[in-house]
Subunit: 391 residues, 2 copies
Amino acid sequence: MNKQDLAESWAAKVQTLPGERVELGRGEPLRLDCGVELGPFTMAYQTYGSLNSERSNAILACHALTGDQYLAGAHPITGKPGWWDMMVGPGKPLDTERYFVICANVPGGCMGSIGPREINPATGEPWGLGFPVITVADMVRAQMLLLDHLGIERLFCALGGSMGGMQVLQLAASYPERIFAAVPIAASARHTAQNIAFHEVGRQAIVADPNWFDGEYYRHGKVPRRGLAVARMAAHITYLSEAALTRKFGRRLQDRSDVTYGFEADFQVESYLRHQGSSFVDRFDANSYLYITRAMDYFDLAADYGGILASAFQDTPVRYCVISFTGDWLFPTSESRDLVRALNASAADVSFVEIESDKGHDAFLLEEPEFWGTLRGFLFGCGEQLGLTAP
Amino acid sequence: MNKQDLAESWAAKVQTLPGERVELGRGEPLRLDCGVELGPFTMAYQTYGSLNSERSNAILACHALTGDQYLAGAHPITGKPGWWDMMVGPGKPLDTERYFVICANVPGGCMGSIGPREINPATGEPWGLGFPVITVADMVRAQMLLLDHLGIERLFCALGGSMGGMQVLQLAASYPERIFAAVPIAASARHTAQNIAFHEVGRQAIVADPNWFDGEYYRHGKVPRRGLAVARMAAHITYLSEAALTRKFGRRLQDRSDVTYGFEADFQVESYLRHQGSSFVDRFDANSYLYITRAMDYFDLAADYGGILASAFQDTPVRYCVISFTGDWLFPTSESRDLVRALNASAADVSFVEIESDKGHDAFLLEEPEFWGTLRGFLFGCGEQLGLTAP
């Protein structure tokens, strides 16, 4: 496949993806942290439920590293339920009979929003590594333009887990007037050295793949499948916990009664990881993986406020609910506690809930009734305070 | 370089490595767990100190995954101190004025003992993946042949960290009559699902490297450098702790005052990891990495005793000292506690010491005075019981 074919094939595929698309930054470009001015650019997003007449019931759900705008219902590529399908819908914690839920694919992503796989209008070719490095703050700026487009002055709530929680914190710090309540989940105000280290392993696995072609694999009709799969495998371990891996797999063998004395996937956990790696490649772009991990590495909210995290929340009117999980070692509770301390130091309105769970970082995506109940209750209480009306 | 040249070049390099070499398994081959009979085969080893006249002061130090026989003094390839240089020498915990310390490169390794990089006499070419998969029990069997060669009926002590500790446990369980005392350090009686998962990531990184050539890279004059480096990077994170990474690197930048908005090693932790990866490749063989990780994955001592770990130690005369480190999340203290419980259930003579350290799994290789003091004291006490004489 030549580069023209490949670009057209991806463009055609994107066109078939369901959901909304909007061109933003046409009048005034989006000025990125790196200095590049981006615009016009496309944001792809989904909405669930209806906006009420006061335009006051909008919830912005922010996705994590490998998430996208498909929160609920079947994912158009994998056919599996969206990443928060259990959370979003009529009667669910993000009750679509009550709230208007918005989720946008972040810039740098690969599900229709501008990113390295999309066509750079200046060259007519995919951006590749010519795409500017974006930050979590850039992601939030883009989402504020989306809210402008939707005519939403103030969100009822922004929430998200992991990188989604970073966006929530950045939004609440930079645009306190545009948000009533904020729920950062399994998140942190900065990426730690260990977090950066794991991301760097994934990036090195990708760039070591000869099919990566310095990020220009699109034009070679290739995909750095093996490198991206290794990156995903390494990351996936960090999303779980030792307890969860032991419970799910232990040392059980895969379809055999004895080890093979070889390098096949003798153990269930090996087979599972290989599957996680290879299936990820079918739905995610390797360059997007580089860009989004980099955005997370760069995230350090306090650094923008003279190194004092509390200063990020000075005089904030936002109601916070910080949620962490006991079994999460990637974004451990200690990070959430640091955040809560900073919010307390700013005299912010903050609740903190640590959910008992041994499911690891991914707990925010899994069945966790206590977590759901917490979120439901917090949103309901905030709705009462705001005098929220149903659509 | 053609394959003949390459084989000769490696053979020549091995010949220049200092230390002892012995051919074992000539009369009776070593029967491996996989069923293959190995022999004759070479074991490369080092000794430090002198054997006393009763031949009763021998300590077997067992190396970990990426270790080798060069315990003390300068390593012949890296020029850096051997992995237990701080531990072994006159007046040190493994006092060479008192003990005769032996350390052998495990079969499957790459520092002179038989392994995938060595020449298979049947073909005249490097073994590559034709080398049989070895187990921790096979490593121990080979070391018992080495003891026979050295005329040592019973070791004063066997000790080692990580995979070294696995060998100690296997030796004590299989050959209780050949060992007076045993010190498994930062070890476990079985590899957990999470341990296997991290190893599988490393293996997949290696086999994804096009220079791996299905394990036949020797004959292509290539080395799967990038794959092996990624494997090492991923593993290296697991050897440290989040606290250690934060203390050593935090979010500090490498030789720059601001981030580059690119994919260079902006952060010190990235630069450090890249260096760990690339320097490892200069001293280690990719296929050995596959074989030795596999041996660790297969290790499950209880499985050989009907699933009851205590049965492995029934009526054992061996004196045990089990040592773990609080900051080790790869072989956490809980694994050592399980081991101690099993030893207690067998009414074994066992001490258990958990060392307070935030250095992670690698603590057993680092400056840890409390650990050194524990080891020194245990050995001294055992020496008194045995009536050990100086050489």
